[in-house]
Symmetry: C2
Subunit: 331 residues, 2 copies
């Protein structure tokens, strides 16, 4: 919290889209602790990540504006004078993107393009950090996946996030906006959606573990990496503060690689008890499954001086502790 | 025209979006000669490639439907019962895409997604061949550019075409539609737009050469490849006929690589006379210039048995001959 690297953010005028969501609200808490001037914009769409309890304790310390990033005029007002925009608003459900591709397009393509046009005209000074996703790589050709890997998204969400990311890079290159995209791996921690598996399967695992109910592990052998949200927040802040990050898309990985089965065991260990049931992938899910994935995030570590600080065991323990205390606010 | 490889298309029910445009109308002429049942859909937006003279001679031999691919309901009707859809409708101007990104998004992203959703529901049997573009590669890391090269589009049009292409691949992979994308290099020949440089600089070169006026060569040292439209049409037909093409994006290159200056000399030679003026790139254009580009299209040649048949000199000669006769219909 008192990391000297972030001292320059004291007093900085920051806007966070998706600011009441999982990562956005963790960013908000951190930025308030640093002393930044923070505006949060969020639409609180019930199926997405926004939850007012996420900003519990920030009353009077942040400005909250409930509006949708598809709302061009509210955005035009909100970006003005902002020095840093953490652009995290998005539709993140892969199955939703297949069932309703048009809404995904509106949020993940059009609204991103609109935001960038708006910044170009009304906030050309703003640095923008965009939350992209490892999903845009699709099924890896090689591991770990670095930024030289082809993008081959396997769902509508991935295609639209890929376009959304490239709009940012383009506006950086052509219009001199300063924009960086972070291709986040699975992020977890306090304030994530745990009501269901819409945000990530790990959310529902943590919930069920807290409720002393068995959770389901689909497949189990797949290798993945997981980023504890405090580390993700570090990455976002460093991306905003490091001039060399502008114009690039960077992988953000975890502190280690682990199979889902081993992760399930760690969740149970962090919880002190629990069980899980191993399941076969359903056909619908299998078609868009990408097998193993873990990131080579050396480019970002080198450019921004970032390194994950929270080991998986510790992050899971903190997550469980959070939901043991606050689970009712997330159901 | 009487190529035995295309005999299977006799009687085939075909829909061409952008069917009154440059490549679409050349496809239409060829398919009519083969004996296919052809429906053309085109919006005839004045700034785009559609020109009714392009389908001169096809009266009574094709069904012409003037509507826009943004028009969901007309598309729903038009795709029904079609066995092959050549999906060529698009916004192609790079500068327009920067000045009006939203229209580019509507046409090159949303309409593509809508068309695919419509096919999934109302024409699941259709094979779809999508006209993608080499523009999505951006500035090459290496030459010739093969399909393993990263996509790094340098304008809004390139980003949206990239998304449009990936929607096709996705719907092939997930829903069993049969879709292929061809990343076309600079295509030229009869029926291209020559009124201005909106479609390609080569159009305005050919026009000015025919008018015995000097044309302008920006830069001049850049290496490029050029596909004569008859060869492009061959590629589209083979993509539709070759089962192994489904689910892939293929480069389509030219018969050779040439610098713009040497191309200018060839145009003058094909025309029998003429001059050009060498110009420096303007700053606005320079920022999105990609330097040299030429394709490695070996993957498509191998998969579909395609090879360009018209040498550049011959293609330019035929183009000049066409515009000498019909220039007034293109101004």
């Amino acid at each position: 919290m008192t990391d000297a690297r972030f001292a320059a953010l004291a007093g900085a005028k920051v806007l966070i889209t998706g600011g009441i969501g999982f990562i956005g609200s963790n960013l908000a808490h951190r930025l308030v602790a640093i002393g930044a001037d923070v505006v949060l914009v969020d639409s609180l769409i019930p199926e997405y990540g926004g939850n007012l309890f996420n900003i519990d304790g920030l009353d009077g310390k942040v400005t909250v504006n409930i509006s949708d990033i598809r709302d061009v005029f509210s955005l035009r007002y909100l970006v003005q004078g902002r020095e840093i925009i953490f652009n995290l608003a998005g539709q993140t459900s892969h199955l939703d993107s297949m069932n309703d591709p048009n809404t995904d397009l509106e949020i993940n393509c059009r609204s991103q393009l609109t935001l960038l046009e708006t910044c170009r005209k009304h906030a050309p000074q703003a640095k923008i950090v965009f939350a992209s996703t490892r999903q845009i790589y699709g099924a890896p050709d090689y591991l770990p996946v670095d930024e030289k890997h082809l993008l081959r998204p396997v769902d509508v969400n991935g295609i639209n996030k890929m376009a959304g990311e490239w709009y940012h890079i383009l506006y950086n290159n052509v219009y001199g906006l300063k924009a960086t995209a972070l291709r986040l791996t699975n992020t977890y921690g306090p304030r994530m959606r745990v009501k269901d598996a819409r945000q990530t399967f790990l959310g529902i695992w943590l919930r069920l573990a807290c409720e002393n109910k068995p959770f389901e592990v689909w497949g189990g052998a797949q290798l993945r990496d997981f980023s504890y949200v405090d580390d993700t927040v570090d990455a976002m802040l460093l991306a905003a503060l490091t001039p060399g990050c502008a114009g690039h898309a960077f992988n953000i990985g975890g502190d280690r690689t682990i199979s889902l089965k081993d992760l399930a065991d760690l969740v149970i260990k962090a919880n002190g008890a629990g069980t899980y049931v191993a399941r076969e992938f359903p056909a619908e899910r299998k078609r868009i499954d990408i097998g193993d994935y873990y990131a080579d995030d050396g480019f970002f570590r080198k450019t921004a001086g970032w390194t994950p600080r929270v080991p998986l065991e510790e992050g899971l323990k903190q997550s469980i502790a959070y939901y043991r205390q606050h689970l009712a606010r997330y159901l």
